[in-house]
Amino acid sequence: MAYGPHTPADREQMLAALGMDSVDDLFADIPERLRSSPLRLDPPEPEQLLMNRLAGLAGRNRVDLASFLGAGAYRHFSPPLVDQILLRGEWYTAYTPYQPEVSQGTLQSIYEYESLIAELLGLDVVSASHYDGAAATAEGALMTCRATQRGRVLVSRGVHPHYRDVLRTYFHGAGLHIEEIPLVGEGPTAGTTDLAELERRLGDTEHPVAGVVVAQPNFFGLLEPMADASNLAHAAGAQLVAVVEPVSLAVLAPPGAYGADIAAGEGQALGIPPQYGGPYLGILACTDPLVRQIPGRLVGMTTDVDGKRAYVMTLQAREQHIRREKAASNICTNQTLLALAASLWLAALGPHGLRDVAALGAARAAELEAALASVGVARVHAGAYLNEFAVRVPDAASVHNELLGRGVLAGLVLADAVPDEPGLADALLVCTTEVTTGDDIATFARELGAVLAESGAAAKAGQPVGARA
């Protein structure tokens, strides 16, 4: 066995000590009728061949494209120090700091993570981490139900469709009610949460609302009127859950500034590679009065018996291993190593670097908007955005596919991601960050212009546009 230490003599010695002839004797307690068929799997693979196999699989993915895809996962520059520190075995091969005296590294790193994120969010209490932005959002929404003793939550359709799916799954399970607030259809605020509809639903005093969930920026990259949403929610006795993108908080008003009670979000952008969906970092935070409602681990600063500063997991009586069926959540394993990655990335960049990253993404987005406009492609919505926006492209799915063949990943086909959202049948969601180059933008505009010109000609000739792969 690949990593096993035992020589045949070791095994014999151990069996002899047990007074047994065969290791099979150790499995005599499995009744005959329950014993399994042999494993039908391939034979063991030596490391060298395994590496060839894995390199081959990795090579079948295309990561060399000029990419404008965001939609909840963002590519950012990560200074090499981040991954070099993450590769220290003292970090990644430790477990939950159950013995704080020999886990001060992990504990202090979590405390620092909580502090860094609290600064970014303008909130007091930050959980040690949740699975991802979607699960954190669901937990945040459930918190509002516990805190208000109400069972109805309103979620804006500007929240990422995956997050809304997860909210539905969790709420259905818990027997709670979730309902969606539509987006404004037209005009200068098109694509943002319909505040009039939000106010109307909040006014249904028969079914009082526990929480309102709004994303900033929203799924379509638009800036939402968070302060207004917050005021409306609070006027109805409900709480606001702000779903935020942490890099944007370098330049956008933080949840604490507009009165959010809870903030949730995806921390992947803080130095964690996209890696096809995870492991990511669920950020969940709240104001001080809600500290006993927040699920997941919390680390606090304390002292040891000699008065030395030290760190420890605290307020554990909220958690499943103590409160069992009455716990706030069943979460146990979390995303501690990803929280460390986020701290490392924030430490490496510093406050000014973080602001530069956010501002560069915005600057590139403005360049992209202009470049696309030059080939006749305009935005879908009129409102302000930071670094992601939707554009109108005729026959978007086919054009997207055609561009793939030309080395451009032209963002997200919105009709695939949110098929039930009106008015987005021919739209792409595109995004830039500081790693987007001027060449990428030029290539995208040039190829898009060419594809549209060809398809225009093809459409006139009654031909279908570039077939799907």
Binding site: R292, L315, Q316, A317
Partner: protein, 126 residues
């Protein structure tokens, strides 16, 4: 030795009756079993509690325990000091560590509680 003038539940709450009012807390045995108490969650004044139903929760570092009302009645006072000094439950469980006062709804319920001797016997067996 537990105070002889109190009545007790099998769940380790005590009750001190003064006229129509019952003061309720947990015993030193309960406090010892829990360890360092770090948080006490109590009902608001005006709420009703039912005999042997939960009226709150007490948390220590690594344990949590429901609090059971020895008698039914309306909560007329809550020990606000416990919000900032939960350790009073450990240091003075029968005194400053009291939790709530209720206006007794049915004095006959007191007959269902243990006296000091019976309670001591219970804890000696635990």
């Amino acid at each position: 030795m537990v105070p002889s003038d109190l009545r007790y539940t099998k769940d380790h709450e005590w009750v001190r009756v003064e006229g129509e009012t019952a003061t309720i807390g947990v015993t030193d045995f309960a406090a010892g079993q829990l360890g360092d108490v770090v948080f006490v969650d109590l009902p608001v004044v005006g709420r009703s509690v039912d005999q042997f139903a939960t009226f709150g929760v007490v948390e220590s570092v690594k344990a949590v325990s429901d609090l059971y009302a020895p008698v039914s009645g309306e909560v007329v006072d809550v020990n606000g000091n416990l919000a900032t000094k939960p350790e009073l439950v450990n240091s003075d469980p029968f005194g400053e560590g009291w939790m709530i006062r209720v206006e007794i709804g049915d004095a006959a319920q007191l007959g269902e509680l243990l006296d000091a001797a019976a309670y001591e016997k219970l804890t000696a067996e635990a």
